[in-house]
């Protein structure tokens, strides 16, 4: 499939991350947690970055988050039409992830740090569904 500038640059899942993208397709935000020290972490890997244990499990996150920080990008970016927030959210379980904030205006007045958010899933194609966040209902 040929790419053009209007298409969003999509992730290419790896053996270590496939569970995450399988999860988003099923409407689930999957994190990993260490079976030894109990800490949750992101992005995916088959071991714990806090204690090096390979005893880790995949589990569904709540999808609740708060807005940690962002910029509103005004530069032309593949897959985006006009200014849009490139955001980092803190998940209820602790880890942070980059995402976009949808279903709200992309303005500093609307995007307030620490505002509560919830995950929403946006299908891109048969393989990839992206986890995005919207103001919590």
């Amino acid at each position: 499939m040929s790419k053009n500038f209007s298409e969003r640059l999509l992730p290419r899942p790896s053996p270590e991350s496939q569970h995450f993208w399988d999860g988003t397709k099923e409407g689930e935000l999957r994190l990993q947690r260490c079976g030894d020290c109990g800490k949750s972490y992101f992005p995916p890997r088959p071991f714990c970055p806090f204690c090096s244990s390979r005893n880790v499990l995949v589990y569904p996150a709540s999808g609740q988050a708060t807005l940690y920080s962002y910029v509103i990008n005004h530069l032309p970016t593949p897959g985006f039409d006009g200014p849009h927030a490139v955001a980092v959210v803190t998940l209820e379980e602790g880890p942070r992830m980059m995402t976009n904030i949808v279903d709200c205006e992309q303005t500093p007045d609307t995007l307030v740090l620490d505002m509560p958010l919830e995950v929403t899933f946006e299908r891109q194609n048969d393989d990839i569904t992206l986890p995005l966040f919207k103001p919590a209902s």
């Binding site: 992730p11 290419r12 992005p43 910029v71 005004h74 980092v88 980059m98």
Partner: protein, 381 residues
Amino acid sequence: MKHQHVAVVGAAETTEMGVIPNLTELQLHADAALNALADAGLTAADIDGIACAGVAPDVLASYLGVTPTWIDGTHIGGSSFILHVRHAMVAIQAGHCKTVIITHGESGRSAVGAAGFPEFFAGRLGGEFEVPYGGNIPPTMFTIPALRYLKEFDLTIEDLAQVAVAQRKWAALNPRATFKDPITIDDVLNSKMIAYPFTLLMCCLRTDGGGALILTSADRAKDFSQPPVYILGTGESCEGPMISQMEDYTTSRAFRVAGEIAFAEAGIERDDVDHVMIYDAFAHVPLYGLEDLGFCKPGEAAGFIRDGHTSLGGKLPTNTNGGGLSYMHSGMYGMYAMQESVRQIRGLAPAQVPGAKISVALGIGGMFSVSGTIIFGNELP
């Protein structure tokens, strides 16, 4: 065990600076290298250690005509060269080589024979978990921590803008600076919006250029024509290339670790420092640098700059070449920070700090990913 000190005995930038459409990236390395060799009174035959980033060190060695017994191709972005200095110092102390050349050349604007940027700035995982959301270039990655920083310390966008204003004042004194005209906070705020809260004048330049340093042991350094610039302390660390995974958006762990060990190695206090260079790819970075190096308490760097302490006549002149915001920024700026530190310690800077004896240069690789710190001085401890 106390090792012998190492000194900079040759330092130079490329002959031209800014827009250099007639030189390849490899030749920018070579142009800087030849200028530094001339500065030291050496030829390539005198060099037995080589380090560079962007171009592979074996490529450069054969191009220059160097037969090295020590090679370092550490390539961790903008502070690669600061790490090269640290690694070269240890190599000279260990006897692996006697005279090292460290070069940088980058056709960042004209893109002549240029390596260019990697597909993903933050590596494969960044490509998978940041790029799809628009975190694909420095203006939308490096900048993300700033709003959290401003909120935590009750600061405003004007506090970011004044960093660019302060550095432009220094650039006005530097004939080689790309931008020299004075600017106001309003000029900065009213320039083109790039990624809110960052406007164009809060973002670094993209230019062509290069620089090179030549290092040798302190006992040999005395025989060179230039006054030796001694390396008093060094530090390096990293946190990680994904900006979304930086642990605290109000402070850089890599800055703190690299700075602390450099000061400990130098055995000096912050008050002993006469001059500072902090890699300024974007206007918020000097705020982090001043605080994480321990010159200001958390949240106080903006006030420190506002009060004039980093400006002409201030107690801690900072980014006196105009910085990446106004002087030049080819993509990997760390070399230019060190060049200005060396000029200041030699007493030859365009905006010379009177009597500068100790200068600190803080470099960054990636977006708060890697850090290197070097403390230069004009005297042995």
